[in-house]
């Protein structure tokens, strides 16, 4: 239903709807940070800020790849198991040094992304099903390589620096994620690739008639998503000291939620890289705030509440953006 509605609406209205949703997520993030800073003593302390950034950098990377895929009107269910697969490959290569580990993880992600892209563009399989297959293939490959166990990384090389190290006082993974988002922002707003993705996602047929390389653009979004997921896998292995073939369960849905909270429409054609990051931080900080709230001792919410809170939060965001859509429709 919403797909039809969104397609029927003039592009201007779709844009302002997405814009409204985007402002909300930034405001909500600022409010949550203010709330935390005023309520908890150590919320803005260096230790908390840095560990939140270090941990959420993996989700930031998978969500960035997901954001481009979704803007191109696709979806990528494979990011979680791709990260797990890449973590195994990079852990196996880590004894040879930082770069072999890094490149191995990226290569694993690239391979899965290329398979996904091939299935979507050449075999014309719907993205949901194609990347579901990709998800199983990546998961199986990771488990096969690792013989169903986690693979410890080598501490003799500087590979673990990628996950545990710091650069200029900030965690290395945070720098990597930040660089990826700068690239994403530039690619979306200033490179033809970003414009093409939006055009393909907005109206594939029109994009084809305009002569855009539709299939190549779609293929590249999946490859890019695979590479970012691979990078997340490298960080996973380096941060926790092991390649973990069974990790990554549910990452794809977390990433989709973050992208949606960030105001990118699942119908494609509209999106923003910066607010995707805001969506990731918002969903990540909810967990953090719950921990602090428990620390105050007033209430004792188990960790299980975090998924309930996240779900309710996603619901509120969706309802709010739907309300914005109706208001825009009335004023038009």
């Amino acid at each position: 239903m919403s797909a039809a509605t969104a397609n029927a609406a003039p592009p201007g209205r779709r844009l302002s709807l997405a814009w409204a949703a985007r402002q909300r997520v930034v405001i909500a993030l600022v409010l949550l940070i203010l709330f935390g800073a005023l309520r908890y003593e150590h919320f803005l302390g260096a230790y908390n800020v840095l560990s939140v950034l270090r941990y959420n950098s993996m989700f930031a990377l998978t969500s960035l790849g997901m954001c481009f895929v979704i803007m191109g009107a696709g979806i990528d269910l494979s990011v979680g198991t791709t990260a797990a697969f890449a973590s195994v490959v990079s852990a196996l290569l880590s004894p040879y040094g930082l770069f072999p580990g890094l490149l191995g993880g990226l290569g694993a992600g690239l391979a899965v992304g290329a398979v996904n892209g091939f299935m979507v563009t050449r075999m014309n399989i719907q993205p949901f099903i194609a990347t579901l297959s990709g998800m199983l293939v990546a998961s199986g490959s990771g488990l096969l390589l690792a013989h169903n166990q986690s693979v410890s990384v080598s501490y003799d090389t500087d590979f673990t620096w990628l996950g545990q190290g710091d650069l200029l006082g900030f965690p290395t993974p945070a720098w990597i994620a930040a660089a990826a988002y700068v690239y994403g922002s530039v690619a979306l707003n200033f490179l033809s690739f970003g414009r093409y993705v939006l055009a393909v996602g907005g109206n594939e047929e029109a994009a084809r008639l305009m002569g855009l390389p539709v299939d190549r653009v779609k293929f590249l979004t999946y490859v890019q998503s695979g590479v970012f997921a691979g990078l997340a896998g490298v960080i996973l292995a380096a941060q926790f000291g092991a390649g973990q073939p069974a990790e990554g369960v549910g990452w794809e849905l977390f990433s989709i939620a973050a992208v949606v909270v960030g105001g990118t429409l699942l119908t494609g054609g509209v999106g923003s890289v910066a607010t995707t990051l805001a969506g990731v931080l918002l969903l990540g900080l909810i967990f953090n705030v719950l921990n602090f709230e428990n620390g105050l001792g007033w209430i004792s919410l188990s960790a299980y509440w975090q998924s309930v809170v996240r779900g309710v939060f996603l619901m509120v965001v969706v309802m709010a953006s739907s309300g914005a859509a109706r208001r825009v429709a009335r004023s038009a």
Partner: protein, 330 residues
């Protein structure tokens, strides 16, 4: 398969290639069965049949609801989480002081209440999707995330172990040698296939999926039809949750139904129901689930590791959907 309404060319000559593309999943299933009879040791036994059917039953039960949802052009990601809720509730009911003092009533309530509550959550999905015009993926993602949390919060994340033969009949019992959940599975498949084919509600489901605007203009209560299919999907997930905890003799909200949404969606896709809506085949979903199960069984029975079976499963799903795509005259 049989209940997929299509506009066929009457009297056209029989096209063998098109036939095999259309019935790819069924053909593959038959080939695989033949292969197993020839190669796998002890394949032709009641035990093998029962093991496979018992394992596939929960996936099929969930796929029945999923097929109806996908027939309206939607999708339901929340089924696994609803299984966790229903699986968590049932032992809570019959292990409560009320359930222990009135075992008959407690057991009856342990069957009805969790399924009804899962159905209510399904109805909530439908309401949320229609009321706020949310895309089904996002709408049911809410319950996917929150639902498992609700199950975990209910049980505080603890495993509930139990031994209750009356309740566990649904997962361990047999009627004339046939496992109880297999009977439930077949009954649900038959009921859903009949509903799609021969009832007004079934035609309304297909018309909503085929062209929502046209359905609305011709007086189909689109929102209500959608709410009901999500409710039915919730009910099916609720039943599947009961079956799973009965088989395990324990309920763990962290694990019950984990990944079930993708298994069910894969079964529906392999079975030949297109994601665009408007066409559906419940029997196809049954065949799809059986095919995926049998592939895994064949590989494991012949000494292939489980991880490699995952890769093959992925390839089977992609291959089945690809062959159906090619079968379509576009």
């Amino acid at each position: 398969m049989a209940d997929a309404p299509t506009i066929g060319r009457k009297g056209a000559s029989f096209d063998v290639a098109a036939f095999f593309r259309r019935y790819a999943a069924l053909t593959a299933l038959i080939v695989l069965l033949a292969f197993n009879f020839a190669v796998t040791p002890n394949f032709a036994s009641w035990q093998t049949l029962n093991v496979n059917l018992t394992q596939v039953a929960t996936i099929v039960i969930v796929s029945v609801g999923m097929t109806l949802v996908i027939a309206t052009g939607g999708i339901d990601l929340s089924v696994g989480s609803l299984m966790a809720i229903s699986g968590a509730l049932a032992p809570m009911i019959f292990l409560s002081s009320f359930g222990l003092s009135y075992p008959a009533l407690g057991n009856a309530l342990a069957f009805v209440a969790p399924v009804a509550i899962a159905g209510m959550f399904g109805l909530f999905n439908g309401w949320f999707i229609t009321r706020f015009r949310v895309q089904p993926i996002v709408g049911t993602l809410v319950m996917f995330i929150a639902g498992r949390g609700i199950g975990q919060v209910l049980t505080n994340g603890n495993l509930q172990a139990f031994k209750n033969p009356t309740f566990q009949f649904i997962g361990l019992g047999r009627v004339f040698g046939v496992p109880c959940q297999v009977i439930i599975m077949l009954a649900l498949v038959a009921a859903a296939a009949w509903t799609l084919r021969s009832t007004l509600f079934g035609r309304q489901i297909l018309s909503v999926g085929g062209n929502e605007r046209a359905a609305w203009l011709s007086g189909v209560p689109v929102a209500s039809v959608k709410r009901w299919v999500y409710a039915i999907s919730g009910l099916c997930a609720g039943i599947a949750g009961l079956v799973v905890v009965s088989i395990n003799s324990s309920s763990d909200a962290n694990l019950v139904g984990l990944g079930m949404e993708l298994d069910a969606i894969a079964a529906v896709a392999v079975g030949g129901t297109p994601f665009t809506g408007g066409q559906a085949t419940v029997v196809g979903s049954l065949i799809g689930a059986l095919l995926i199960q049998l592939v895994r069984y064949t590989l494991l029975a012949n000494g292939v590791p489980d991880a490699a079976a995952l890769v093959v499963k992925g390839a089977i799903i992609a291959g089945a959907v690809w062959s159906q795509q090619r079968g379509k005259p576009t």
